[in-house]
Structures are given as C-alpha cells and as structure tokens.
Symmetry: C2
Subunit: 445 residues, 2 copies
C-alpha cells in the first residue's frame, strides 16, 4: 500500500490507507489519544491509543488506518479534512522529535526575531512562517512567467567579479586563487551585455551588499528579480513593463494565496489601469503643497515623503502604487541615462507603494563613447570595464533599460512583514551567518 | 509607427513597416546595397542605396521601408523571410559598430577558446553560440516545470556560508566584515533542511568549487539544478524522479530546438522506458567481462569504464543512459545514507550517458543520532553543523534524498560541446574572471 496525501483522504471514507507526516499536536485522554498529522497537503485528525498519546510533537510518523466520518458536532471547518478522521491501526514512528525549544503550533509565533533565527529550522515549520515562502515561490514563478510571455530569455550570470558594479566600496572581497575578486552587487552589467544578444533578458540573481549597518530592510545577500530590454522606444516602455510585471505578480499571489493574505490580514495593493507617474521634482512639490514641509530642493525623497506621496496617489488615483521618475544624475548609478532635455536628471524610475520602494530601474547609457566618458568622469578607467562590458557597446548596443525587484522586499511588502529577515529563509546580515557571529574587536574593512 | 518584429514582416507584403536590429551582413554593388538585418525573431534582407552599403556590420539600425515579394529565383529557404525583402525608405543608424575583432557571420566560429572568451560580448553574438543559451534557458524552464508539476516548491538559499558543505578544502574564502566565511560548494544542506518544511523542494543555485585545476568539465562557479524529496519509500524513488526529470528536459529541448540540435549535428540521447540501473560492483564486473580489463576491485569507475558501460547500456537496453548506484561509502559525501544491508555501500546514484556524468544524487542520513555519529567519524564537530542543519533532524526529518544536475554540464552534454566554457555565458576558472588573471608567483591557498 502506498502513501495517500492527507488532502486526498477525504475521498477514502471507509477505506484503509497509509498517511505519512509530522505530528502537529497530541491530546491524551487515558487510553484514548487524538493527534493532528501534517503533511505538505494538509492536516488530519487521527484517533488512537496510548502509543499515539506518547509520541512527541514534530515526530515523523507513518500511520495506517481507516478513514471514517466525524460526528457532526466535531466538524472542524478550518481544515479540509474537518469532516473525517482516521482510526489508527498501525503507528510507526519513523523519526522521533526531541522537545521543541518553543511552541510552533499556536496561530502566532510569539518569539523574538533573534530566537526565531537561532532556531531557524524550527521556526520555519510554523504554518505562518512556512506560508511566507509559499508566497515567495509564487512570486518567482509569476515574474518568470510574465517575462517569458513577453519574449524575454532567461540567463544565468556570474557572481564572482573583479570590480564594483554599482560603485562604492560596499563589496565583499573573495580570495580567488590568490587574486582579489568580489561578490557582485548586482547582475547589472551582465544583463546589459545580454541585451546585445537576446534583446530581452531576465535573471534571478543573488546579489551582495557589504553595507555595515543592520536595518529592517537590508540583507547582505539577497535575490534580485532582474530584467533588461533593448529597442525601447523610450524610457516609458520600462515604466509599462515594470507596471505589468508587478501587477502580474499581484494577480498570481491573490489567485493562489488568498488564504495566506487573510492569515496575515493584508490585501494586495490597490492599483489603477495606468499607475500614476511623477517626476521627482513634481513629487517634492506635491509634498510641499500638501504638508508645508519644504522638500523642494532635496536631492531625493525621504521615507516621510514616500509615505505622503503614496497617500496622494491613493486619494487622486485610487492607486497604492506610484512611479517616481527623473532622479538626479548625481544620485543615480553611473550607467544611468541622462535626460537629453536636462542632463541633471536621469530617465530612471522607482515604483513606490505603501511608503516603501518596490522596484528600481531606468534607461541606461547605450553609446560607447558616452559610456567611456561617464566612467572617466567618475574617476575610473574604462579599460577596467572593457572586457566584457565595454565590448557589448563598442559593437552596437540598442537603446535599452531595465529594472530589478528585490525578491525578499516584495515578499515583505506584500505580506506587510516588519523585518526583511522574515521574508528570507536563511538571512545574512552583519551579525549573523546562520549562527550569530562573534564580536570582533575591530572589524577589518 | 511602431516596430514590427522581423518574423512578423512576412504578413506585411506591400505595406510600409519599421524594423529594428543589428546589421548581420552588407553587400555593396555600386549604387545598390543589400543587407541582412537581425533581431531577436529572425533575419530579413533589405535593399537600399549607398548609405546602407556604408554601414558597418553589427551596427544597430532602425529602417522603415516597404515589404515586397522576392523574385522566385532569389528565394532563400534557410530563413523564414526568404520569400520577401524590404525596400529601404529611411535608414537610421542608432549605434554604429566598430570593426569586429573576428568574423561572427560564418556558419562556424573558427576562433580558439581563449580569443573567444577574451571577446565574449562579441562571440556570444554568433548564431551558433547564441543558440547554446537558448537551449540552456529551455533546460532551466523544463526542470522547474517538471518539479512544479510534481508538487515541489521552489526555494532560494544562501551562498555565503561558514563551513565546507561537501567536505574538503576546495572553498573560496570571503572576508565577511572581518569574519571568515566561504562560498557554498552546493545548496545541499539547505535543501535538506527545507525537506522538513515542504517535503519536496528545488532550487537553481550558484555553487563554487575552488579546485586548482583547469579541465574541459569544471568551472569554479556553476549552477546546480538541485532538488530534494522527503517521504521516499526507498532510494529507487530518487532514481525514478531523476529519470523522469532528465527525460522531461530532453522532451522540452527536442520539441523547441530541433533546429539547434540539427545545427550542432546532435540528437537527444536515446532512452528506454525505465533507464537501466546497475550497482557499481555489477558495472565493474560487466566492464571486466566485456574488455578483460580487471577493474573489479576499483573504488570508482574511470572515464574509460563510463564509456564502456554506456556501450553496454545501448547494446542491451537501447538506452544511451544508465544509472550506476551503490557507490562506496568512503567515496561519497558524508551525508550519504549507507545501505543497511551493506554499510560499505551507499544508496547513491549517478546517471551516466555518452560516457560522462549527467546527474548525481542519493538518499541521505535522516536520523539525528546517526548524523552526529557520521560527522564525528569524519573528524568534525556536530556543533558546527547544528544551526540550522542539525536542528532540522533533531525535530524529525523524514526519509529523504535528492539529486543535482549541473546546468552547464547538461547543456554541454546535450549539444556535444567540447568544453564546458562553451556552455557558460561568462565562465570562471582558475585563469579567468572575464579577463585573464595575471600570473601569481606563488598563489596563496
């Protein structure tokens, strides 16, 4: 007899089947014991004797028994098997669990983040924690499906590099056979190169930021949902693609995981047909007009401004999302394309929603000579970027741009999680690589 | 007027359209010039004047013009637009290309691998090189689709770790805020942990091997198509899943890319319904019987043996693939599950085809005490593996196992490429990180 998944047991009333899973809970009443057994498909109540009562929760069991209807007064409409139960005939404990460090069977895990991460293999078993990563899997799939449907080709690019891609010194050094290499800050330069091959490409790439700070929105290792497209008519093509991509992700999550959204008490952000779009300058003006806070000469939008502009977008357009565009050239990455009408501004975009950033992108410099000038103007040598990046431009690059969505950030944003670590299976930060790192007297930089 | 993709131009005869792409070739005849324009969808011949004749190949152009039928004697059945051409009305050079370092428009790229990699952004534009990565994208998608259809959940796991996962010292050290960390040799320990959450998981993970050698089958950074499944009845469930996965990949590649298989002059490996499976010992016996070469006491199969056993499989079973199982315990990774009937052997498997390895996997130790014993027996301290790996077992792990397919290797194997670097967009090895690395007098280890 082979295993029946718990969700399929509801069509087996009166029959003897085998189920396998973890003991989610046990309740003993003398000679009688009840347990909930969990597998990847759901939960079922089983009824047995003393041996069942003695099994520790989270032990892995194989049970053969007969499925029978429950008495109506014991119906449980919270689980799909709520109208049946299994009468245990044979119980095998495949692996016994030890005593858990904390209770993972309550609706909420009332444990602080450090303890939760110190016991990650345990906390991940909690239903509500597990559910975060079901949503995350759906986000990855929706991103790929949407871009495949739009004729993008998936690529895989390296993470060991010889220079900083985004500028700045926040890179992790790698000892590469005695040479100094680094972990890539993003797949940016490689996805741009690949535009000259496939026109439209995407990649899910690990990226690394050695920012020496601990916040609720930063990880040292994260996953970028990155794409890049060539032959854009202009930068608004990027706005449209970013808009349709995030909406495709919303659609997939709400179709597949309404139960999880309910469990977290959240809704998918409200959107309108064309997400509103404001130049940074316009947005700062609106914030000034609405609040009296004079931010008109700021070079960027602060978190308070982001929240205010989201309120504006919701009130004026019924959209919790809003694009901010035309960030200042000196504040954006060196490969950003300056607006020919006003070189102080770049044709870049951020998607803001619920007061935080969801997507960042923009048009890139595609002319070889301009690119070399730009690299020089930042005090760097174009030769260092020539192989293979410069080459892609030297031999003809179409007008192009792209954007990136942080996988953990969009998961955090959709589910309204307080800390990005909750949206990461095994988060890395300055203080932790699985285990907490020992304090260093004076960290080498 | 918006851009028409070249493949769609065949339904625009008599109409004026705009195409955009790269100049694939130019032929000048005085006042008349012909050019082939390439975009992501195909090639088209355009007919123009002197200005067209003067454009350098690989320049990026936008051309408006009228589509007209070709004279029948000029039909070209090698391209989908072979019965039409475009009469150029307006030509815009969006980005001019410089002189190419070598010709990329011949059917074969007759350039040595070092030059090809020194000019990677150029060589990738060659049709036959580009095609490798179309196949690779299909392999990634087929792997995911097959596992999603089998109820696996996609996960994303970290690559910065604090220890060696596979044993051995071939790891790259990372300076992690002054702490010593490493690049993961595989996602192995994390995918195992995740079996205790989702039962069935898969991930496409970058993995790093600091092997100080340069061969045609090794990279220092590669992508593993990794999966892991819990509640196996026994290890043969893994053989079945590996078998169906590789066949799903074959099916997707042959359905989508017959043209590329033809271009490379290769066929998808012949398979039979149940791929034959031999214990290592049985395989060595067969090699001895067939060749007289006495390898019966060897601890592993050598390349010559792999080729011979593939010949056997083809002759006896009509299958170019064959599973070899029951590798010796001392030759396999420490987490491998020993056969209870003979602890000298593990319940592990390799899929061999055309004389090389395609897949490697096996059942893992799932009992917490056994795992601790095993770690100790290898001279290591279980405490170093406890967070989070050991924890997953301490609280109940089902019987489980999994396998991994090297993305670049399976691409190389399917297309019959001589060197794994040809199956990698931007290959990393001991001597190259995009650019060739300078010689080091004495490499630090």
């Amino acid at each position: 007899m082979t295993r029946t998944l718990i969700k399929d047991s509801i069509s087996e009333i009166g029959k003897k089947i085998i189920i396998k899973g973890w003991v989610n809970s046990v309740r003993s009443y003398g000679k009688l014991a009840f347990a909930d057994i969990r597998d990847r498909s759901g939960l079922i109540q089983v009824v047995g004797g003393k041996d069942l009562g003695g099994v520790k929760v989270e032990s892995v069991v194989e049970i053969s028994g007969t499925i029978r209807p429950r008495d109506e007064k014991y119906f449980n409409d919270k689980i799909i098997t709520g109208k049946i139960e299994m009468e245990v005939e044979e119980l095998k404990v495949l692996e016994a669990s030890e005593e858990l460090p904390f209770d993972i069977h309550q609706p909420d895990l009332n444990v602080g983040l450090p303890v939760l991460l110190d016991n990650r293999a345990v906390s991940l078993r909690h239903q509500k924690v597990t559910d975060v990563f079901k949503v995350q899997a759906t986000i990855m799939k929706a991103f790929r499906d949407h871009l495949n449907a739009n004729d993008f080709t998936e690529i895989s690019v390296p993470t060991i590099v010889t220079g900083s891609t985004e500028g700045g010194s926040e890179v992790f050094p790698v000892d590469y056979f005695g040479h100094k290499a680094f972990l890539a800050q993003s797949p940016q330069l490689y996805k741009q190169i690949m535009v000259s091959i496939f026109e439209r490409v995407f990649t899910l790439a690990h990226a690394y930021r050695a920012e020496p700070s601990v916040t609720t929105r930063h990880l040292t290792e994260y996953v970028g949902l990155d794409c890049e497209m060539g032959f854009i008519e202009d930068w608004t093509d990027l706005v449209k693609m970013a808009d349709s991509t995030v909406k495709a992700i919303f659609k997939a999550v709400s179709e597949k995981h309404q139960d999880i959204l309910d469990e977290y008490g959240v809704t998918i952000p409200k959107t309108c047909e064309n997400t509103p779009s404001l130049k940074l300058k316009e947005a700062l003006q609106i914030i000034y007009e609405r609040t009296g806070r004079d931010v008109r000469n700021e070079l960027d939008m602060d978190p308070e401004g982001e929240r205010e502009i989201c309120r504006w977008s919701m009130e004026k357009h019924g959209s919790e999302l809003v694009f901010i565009t035309h960030f200042y050239t000196k504040k954006r990455a060196w490969y950003s394309y300056a607006d020919p009408k006003n070189p102080q501004e770049t044709l870049t975009l951020d998607l803001i929603g619920r007061g935080v950033e969801w997507i960042s992108g923009g048009q890139r410099i595609s002319n070889y000579a301009d690119l070399q000038e730009k690299i020089k103007s930042r005090g760097q040598n174009p030769i260092d970027f020539e192989i293979p990046y410069g080459q892609a431009f030297k031999y003809g690059m179409p007008p192009e741009g792209g954007f990136a969505i942080g996988l953990e950030r969009i998961t955090q944003n959709i589910l309204g999680l307080e800390n990005i670590r909750q949206a990461t299976l095994f988060p890395r930060d300055m203080e932790r690589v699985d285990k907490r790192l020992p304090k260093i007297e004076k960290a080498k930089k």
